[in-house]
């Protein structure tokens, strides 16, 4: 079978001429890539093997014989560690078969982070309960067979094995010959791996993923605890005795986080009950001091206030109020909002593109519904009559964008500036930090001036540009009308120009650059006060041999109308209006 030829290339852009890495560079690059994918592959194999073993142990119990057992011991023990609660159980066979004893619910029992979870695990097996159990030929006895679905978990590490394996294969598989039998350079196929543009589908998928993860996380760690906080307002007040109290550290790749582990008991006259729930908002977070304070307020042996569920006597909580920690649970809500925003935007993009196809097809344009040219045209509408043209980025959008950029930049810089200022106040100035911050602070100040400039520009007269059609074609013309809303008498000069521009986006190393080149500039209107304040109309003709609008992933041919207005001692008016030039050689969208 022919290899569809994707290959990890190091040091040049695939399919294009460019500087190629030398043999040493290529070898080092291959080594690095091998280490990267080898790690994926190795870890994947390790975890796959571990999970297969675990699944095998569980599945083996389905061949064991059924017995009848009686539970002799059933209690939760605090064993320590990050998952400190261990359900301890002991049972014996009571049927006619050989006498056996067991101490495991399943072959692989687990520990729990909360007392309640461990207690729930023991729920079906109180002392004295008679239950079905399973015995191996070797005399091993368990109360439950392992879950069948545990075998499916093996697919997760298998993904790593596949990624690592494919990566290693791509690095070390022999290169396709670059020369043919006659020694001539061999052509590489350009269109073999072509995929149609996603048209917003990537955004839809990403948005769905964000919304699903954000929604589920918020439901479990935000909405449900909030509901419990509301419900706990009617729980019964009780005095509880603290049996254990400590701060638990959780190590992970992102650093250490902390949680409180407070184990307490109470007695409402129906026997002693225990719980380890401090508040409804579980989990761990950075900042040990706050947790240590809580632990200090709940020392071992102390009598503290707790709240117990009126109907479920083993369910209790120490903190039933909304604490600052609860705000952390709202973080997933941001993911949910971002995800929904991406979904809506993706839907808008794909809908706009589909509508454009439909309009172009039904509107009498000589394009097939699946014509490839529709993939590379900016979205356009088929409208005649006075069509208002929309600026590519309205001034309010520029203002809001600048405000956000300024807040973001200065928000970060101010943290470090505050540290520098505090060190100066203490009489021990951090000189290096101060010098280092100078350019960042200057950019921050420039951004503030940018916001002021944009704010002043909001008060400018507002240009209104309309055309007799929404699109135009090479060799055809458009009738344009322009005027200003607001205080047009402040304008001292107005210019309207037709601009044609190429845009090329390219990568150099890990950076992406966009180069622009204006290939057509034609001044349509250039008027001084007072005639510029009146507005007017003008005909713009596209050159007969002009290129139509083009928009692919990295390359563009852009047509636009630039309207500028000068105001003395005030920010100028400057707006750009994209113009869609259709690839119509004989019939145009405009006259």
């Amino acid at each position: 079978m022919a290899r569809r030829g994707w290959k990890i290339r190091l040091g040049r852009r695939a399919g294009q001429p460019g500087p190629e890495a030398g043999p040493v560079g290529r070898f080092l690059g291959r080594l690095l890539a091998t280490a990267f994918f080898g790690l994926f592959f190795g870890l994947g194999v390790f975890f796959t093997w571990g999970m297969l073993q675990r699944a095998g142990e569980h599945l083996e119990t389905y061949r064991w014989s059924e017995r009848v057992c009686e539970v002799e011991r059933s209690e939760v023990v605090r064993a320590g560690g990050e998952e400190p609660y261990e359900p301890r159980i002991a049972f014996r066979s009571i049927d006619a078969g050989p006498a056996l004893r067991g101490q495991r619910i399943q072959r692989r029992d687990v520990e729990y982070g909360s007392h309640g979870e461990a207690l729930a695990r023991l729920g079906p097996y109180p002392v004295g309960a008679v239950a079905t159990c399973y015995a191996s030929e070797a005399g091993e006895l368990v109360l439950e067979r392992g879950p069948f679905w545990s075998a499916l978990l093996v697919f997760f590490p298998l993904i790593f094995v596949v990624i690592g394996g494919v990566g290693l294969w791509a690095i070390w598989s022999p290169d396709r010959p670059t020369r043919d039998a006659a020694g001539r350079p061999r052509l590489q196929a350009l269109g073999a791996n072509f995929r149609r543009r996603a048209e917003g589908r990537v955004l839809l998928w990403m948005g769905a993923l964000f919304a699903a993860i954000g929604g589920l996380t918020f439901w479990f760690f935000g909405a449900l605890p909030l509901w419990q906080v509301y419900e706990a307002r009617s729980w019964d007040a009780q005095r509880c005795t603290v049996e254990h109290s400590s701060v638990v550290a959780h190590q992970s790749d992102d650093g250490t986080t902390y949680s409180v582990d407070i184990f307490y008991r109470w007695d409402r006259g129906r026997g002693v009950e225990r719980s380890s729930r401090y508040s409804f908002f579980g989990g761990s977070s950075s900042g040990r001091a706050a947790k240590a304070e809580i632990v200090a307020a709940h020392r071992e042996g102390a009598e503290v206030a707790c709240w117990v569920h009126p109907q479920t006597p083993n369910e209790a909580v120490l903190e039933r109020e909304l604490t600052l920690h609860a705000a952390v649970a709202l973080v997933p809500l941001a993911f949910l909002v971002i995800g929904v925003g991406m979904l809506l935007h993706g839907r808008q993009i794909s809908g706009r593109r589909a509508a454009m196809r439909s309009r172009a097809y039904q509107g009498g344009l000589p394009f097939r519904a699946e014509d490839p040219v529709l993939e590379v045209l900016p979205t356009f509408e088929m409208r005649a009559g006075p069509v208002p043209l929309a600026a590519d980025s309205p001034r309010w959008m520029r203002f809001v964008g600048l405000v956000f950029a300024t807040l973001f930049w200065n928000g970060i810089v101010s943290v470090f500036a505050y540290q520098a200022w505090k060190s100066w106040q203490r009489g021990n100035p951090e000189v290096f930090l101060m010098f280092f911050l100078v350019p960042f602070v200057l950019v921050g100040i420039a951004l503030v001036f940018g916001v002021i400039h944009a704010l002043l520009g909001m008060a400018n007269p507002h240009p209104v540009l309309s055309a007799n059609a929404s699109t135009v074609a090479p060799g055809r013309s458009l009738e344009l009308q322009w005027r200003f809303r607001g205080r047009a008498e402040r304008l001292s000069r107005v210019r309207l120009s037709l601009i044609g521009r190429e845009e090329a986006t390219y990568r150099v190393g890990t950076n992406t650059h966009t180069a622009q080149e204006t290939f057509h500039e034609e001044v349509l209107v250039d008027l001084a006060a007072p005639s510029c304040q009146m507005g007017g109309h003008v005909r713009v003709a596209l050159p007969a041999g002009a290129m139509h609008s083009f928009e692919s992933e990295h390359n563009k041919v852009v047509w636009q109308l630039d309207l500028s207005g000068e105001i003395e001692r005030w920010p100028d008016v400057s707006e750009s209006y994209p113009l869609v030039v259709l690839p119509l050689a004989e019939r145009g969208g405009a006259t």
């Binding site: 350009l190 014509d371 490839p372 290129m547 390359n555």
Partner: protein
């Protein structure tokens, strides 16, 4: 060896015109398939973009032979040349297995000519 030949040896076409021709091949063993693609691609400063307007799998029976094709040129994008961006059209044939490729450059545009950015637009 693989080669694309267009009728009348033309290489410039108007949008909507028919492209007729033959693909000839000589291989060591009988190929399993022959893919023919009509595509555009960009050249210039930007990273390369490629679009396939149409693709066909031509019948192959022996290690040596030829197969005729007929494709319709789409409405665009037109061929053009600029300082930063150029758009080219080509017919590309690929033998399977082996991945031997032949490419025939074309011009697609009104009057069978390319648009020159900066010279009339």
């Amino acid at each position: 060896m693989i080669e694309i030949r267009l009728d009348e040896s033309r290489s410039a076409f108007e949008p909507g015109e028919k492209l007729r021709g033959e693909v000839h091949w000589v291989a060591e063993t009988a190929p399993r398939g022959l893919a023919l693609r009509l595509l555009w691609y960009t050249e210039g400063r930007g990273d390369r973009d490629v679009g396939v307007a149409s693709r066909e799998t031509l019948p192959v029976g022996s290690s040596t032979g030829s197969s005729a094709f007929s494709l319709e040129a789409p409405s665009g994008p037109w061929s053009c040349s600029g300082q930063l961006v150029s758009i080219r059209w080509a017919l590309e044939a690929e033998l399977e297995p082996g991945g031997e490729v032949a490419r025939l450059e074309l011009v697609l545009g009104p009057g069978g000519s390319e648009a020159l950015l900066g010279q009339g637009g």
